[in-house]
Amino acid sequence: MKIAREQVEHVALLARLRLTDEEKDVFAKQLSQILDHVEQLNRYDTTGVEPTATVIGQVNVFRDDEVRPSLPVEQALANAPDREGDGFHVPKIIEER
């Protein structure tokens, strides 16, 4: 599987990763190599085989809906890169018309 530089750029945007030109070239080559290795999965016939998403059988794990203390505001904000009052400070999201 040959990965083109444009595909690397597309995937990087989906992954919200900015890459340098050098990284784009290196990843195009390395991802191609790794996907070539992954191609060998096609040797296995998986017609009618159920996919495994998890090995544990349990589904729908419920717990009682009871009120418990949550993380205090100061602790929740202790690792914030930027805060304003009791909130996380972020750049403006809604564009001006």
């Binding site: 989906l14 919200r16 991802l31 790794i34 290795h37 996919p51 544990i56 349990q58």
Partner: protein, 488 residues
């Protein structure tokens, strides 16, 4: 005997008998760390001053009444992707360099309840992605047996710290071999429990369907003891299993393997296997036979698909799990960004190292429109086939024995430029994670160059007792665990 050389079992007995104080224990380990840590670099963050303060307080209280828990006063090292309240948890990443968790992982809460002493947080490949610790943002750790060699990874810091006697025991995490491979490289014992056996709450998620926390210790008994403390159901982890926790040390009583069927999968003894590793593991299998085990050849025909399945599924899950690192609520935030998208992209560019970026890219690619079925869906289906191989094998045998790694520890820099070669070094450990079953790595010899060689014992789901029994019987017969690295 110097305190730092003792096992957890031995040190605990001395402490419980009042022969040694917690302060004396921490002092001894402090000296040892001072001697060897500049060479080994196992720790991202040492906490021995804090441990000493705790130890003094513990000793003061113990003068009044004497009641000891297994881990009380025991200096334990924790991989730096397991959250410790109030102590930085960096995942060896610039992204979390200054992150201080506001809560403890469930395993840490259990250790803390027994009044263990946190001696330090250990180095890892960034976000546990790697097999050598060379992908740590803070520089690699070294193998105590040969400082030119890697300690393995991703729990390389934990394995090196145990091997170099910088702690009495450690916790690591294992997604594709990250406990067992470094344990094998460093000549110590590493156990990956059954998926769901140990709570993952507070473990920074890499691949949630594969990750498990487990012990890295100086011998098999210590692994049994430490597993007994951390195992069990946790309402905070919906994938943790509600299965009773046995007394794992009871599994160590039998010294023979009579009536036990040991499977040897031929797929693990192929051309990629180093001859010295093959020799050591073959000799170990002979020893298992001497102990009464019934040796049977078995097949795990889909073994060679495991690496490909893993690098699709693990990277897909990682690309999703690591989406949370966006510079908004915690962790790094890039400066001088022009809008929200720019903030995300620049933060992630600056915060993640090359291996993490590579895996996020691969994971995003295999999940992207048009490729999902061909890669992700296909890999999930082949994962089922890998599980079926083990299910069939475990109808005929009770445990499976393999080499833990294809080679002994490799040199720093040897594989760091070739991601695929690095991925293939995990070929013997990965299928166990895909099947969600338990496995233990333990020393079974040394190469002519003096590097440890490890073997792996694999068991059925929730049959940790059986693999501990086999590992312990072998260990006691072979005595490799008594050899110590030349570092001083």
């Amino acid at each position: 005997m110097a305190l730092h050389k003792l096992t957890l079992f031995e040190l605990q007995r001395k402490f419980a008998a009042g022969e040694v104080s917690a302060a004396e224990i921490v002092h001894a380990y402090g000296l040892r760390i001072g001697q060897v840590e500049p060479k080994v670099r196992a720790f991202v963050n040492q906490t021995k001053d804090h441990a000493m303060a705790q130890a003094v307080e513990l000793d003061r209280r113990l003068k009044q009444w004497r009641k000891t828990e297994l881990l009380m006063g025991m200096p334990i090292a924790i991989k730096d992707n397991i959250c410790t309240e109030g102590v930085p948890t960096t995942c060896s990443s610039r992204m979390l360099q200054h992150f201080v968790p506001p809560y403890d992982a469930t395993v840490i809460a259990k250790l803390r309840k027994q009044e263990y002493l946190l001696i330090g947080k250990t180095n890892l490949d960034e976000f546990a992605m790697g097999s050598s610790t060379e992908h740590s943002a803070f520089g690699p750790s070294r193998n105590p047996w040969n400082l030119q060699c890697v300690p393995g990874g991703s729990s390389g810091g934990s394995a090196a710290a145990v091997a170099a006697d910088e702690c009495v025991a450690a916790l690591g995490s294992d997604t594709g071999g990250s406990i067992r491979q470094p344990a094998a490289f460093c000549g110590v014992v590493g156990l990956k429990p059954t998926y769901g056996r140990v709570s993952r709450y507070g473990l920074v998620a890499f691949a949630s369907s594969l990750d498990q926390i487990g012990p890295i210790t100086k011998d098999v008994r210590d692994a049994a003891l430490l597993l007994g403390v951390i195992a069990g159901h946790d309402p905070m982890d919906s994938t943790s299993a509600d299965v009773p926790v046995p007394d794992y040390t009871k599994a160590l009583v039998k010294k023979h393997l009579r009536k036990l069927r040991v499977g040897i999968p031929r797929e693990f003894f192929t051309e990629g296997l180093d001859p010295e590793v093959e020799q050591a593991v073959t000799a170990a299998i002979g020893e298992l036979k001497n102990l009464g085990g019934e040796i049977k050849d078995i097949e795990l025909p889909r073994t060679d698909a495991a690496v490909a399945v893993y690098y699709v599924l693990a990277t897909a899950e990682a690309s999703s799990n690591l989406a949370r690192f966006d510079g908004v609520k915690f962790g790094l935030r890039a400066k001088e960004t022009k809008d929200l998208l720019d903030l995300y992209m620049k933060t992630r560019q600056e915060g993640f190292g090359p291996e993490v970026k590579r895996r996020i890219m691969l994971g995003t690619y295999v999940l992207s429109a048009g490729y999902y079925d061909a890669y992700y869906g296909k890999a999930q289906a082949v994962r089922t086939l890998v599980r079926q191989d083990f299910e069939a094998a475990f109808k005929e045998v009770d445990v499976i024995v393999t080499p833990a790694t294809p080679t002994p520890a490799f040199k720093l820099g040897e594989k760091s430029e070739d991601p695929l070669q690095m991925y293939l070094s995990d070929i013997f450990t990965i299928s166990v994670n895909l099947a969600g079953i338990p496995a233990i790595a333990l020393p079974c010899g040394f190469s002519r160059a003096g590097l440890p060689i490890g073997m792996q014992v694999i068991g059925r789901a929730f049959e940790e007792e059986t693999i501990l029994r086999v590992a312990h019987a072998y260990e006691q017969a072979a005595q490799w665990h008594l050899k110590k690295p030349p570092i001083r």
